[in-house]
Amino acid sequence: MIDYERMLNSEVKNMKPSGIRRFFDIASEMDHVISLSIGEPDFTTPWHVREEGIRSLEDGKTWYSPNRGFLELREEICRFLKRHCHLDYEPKTDIVVTVGGSEAIDLTIRSLIEPGEEVLIPEPSFVCYKPLTIASRGVPVVLETKQEDQFRLTAEELKSKITPKTKLLILPYPNNPTGAVMRRENLEAVAEVVEEHNLFVLSDEIYGELTYGDYRHVSFAEIGGMKERTVLVNGFSKAFAMTGWRLGYAAGPKEIIRQMTKLHQFGIMSAPTTAQYAAIEALKNGDGDIISMRDQYDLRRRLIVDGFNEMGLSCFEPEGAFYVFPCIKSTGLSSEEFCEKLLYSEKVAVVPGNAFGDCGEGYIRVSYSYSIRHITEALSRIEHFLRTMPGDRNA
């Protein structure tokens, strides 16, 4: 018998599988569950984009692409970053096309982090940063963000966690799960600390195009002096509803991108060719799709924020991504208890906030990447749940 326990890499073995797995297992076995738990667009990829993917297959374009991705795609990425964020990147040296934004995150961390170096991770946030840091023998250090600061990272919190071992700051904004965005002045305050302590930044801007209201997304790399310290990660999944195509990219200083490209070359070779042809079309002719999908999300965002506030769950007004993060502390339940009871009694699935870090306790993540009809039905079930909960919380 092989003793697998002894065979396996201990860092990987000790990675905790997501704590909410049990919860999803229950939900997936129940009938008539109405879910607000999914973190991807409900739109399908715009037809003209799909068509270019299909056309490339019809034309027999089924080979590997260059390791960094097709030059034409990298050129279009640079034009996109110029158009949307006023950034100048060099297509030949500053871009690597990856298998989703997630691979770009992995490559950035692995290219920068030496064993024992500390990576600052604001929470609540998406679940991949910590395990990927640990896989690189780095040390994740949590930065707490709070509802009273609109879940933004403050310079004070950042300063308080910096040690001589701090190397990299992760900036996951617009944020999953809170919907928080960092405005220019917030980024500037962070940039000052970054400069002073000579940090690098991984700015995960995958939701950048989904920013609502009058305020438009500002990339961290736009802040004076930060471009040379920043690896900007973005992709096609959220902005163009292309999750399944698995395509993202990193833009940054050529010295870092070169090292990331080596890891990408040996581990992945190149991103999917069909997806790259579709992505070229998305960048060339897809700005209108972004706007019309964003308008749809915005309507739903307003509807759902109003719905939660109306039923007495205070809901921070998110300005980005497609999640709301209402506070459920007034019910006296923990996040997981709330979600489990809601699932059993009303068959509505949402995600407990503590899945995104301990400081997400007392909140739930609710996705509005669903039709208006679906959202209204779910809201009325949640309202019914609160109204019929044992013990009068309004007493």
Binding site: R21, L299, V351, R373
Partner: protein, 161 residues
Amino acid sequence: MDRLLTLLDENARLSVKQLAAMLGKTENEIEDEIAAYEKAGIIRGYKALINWEKVDKNKASALIELRVSPKRERGFDEIANKIMQFEEVESVYLMSGGYDLAVKVHGKSMQDIAMFVMRRLSTLDSVLSTATHFILTRYKDGNVILNTEDEKDERRSVLCD
């Protein structure tokens, strides 16, 4: 396009409160806007989109192409006005191309519709010819896809495995 009209066009049952939240306006503003649209004849009514084939098997409909001779001064208006008075007629359009009027008609059966065309439509003075196309199956009507079960959401959580 007006966002309020677009929302109502998709779902006329959204409450004033919901519409106000979505559009960032007050309920009074929304009520006023709807009243103004109704008064101006822009909103002409509210009705359910019903898949009648699921309810009433004895229902047929047809698209009829009409070639007509226009009248001096009144053009096609006079004959169009006449045709739209029939209860059987669901819609009347003036078309460009090979014929003049497109008339959508419903009845209890194909026979029923055939009789209507023969006795009522083709006997009208200015009607030169008719071509009747029976509708066999409706796949999509009024922007709504019919005859399909609710699409299953195949998206899955990437948080848990």
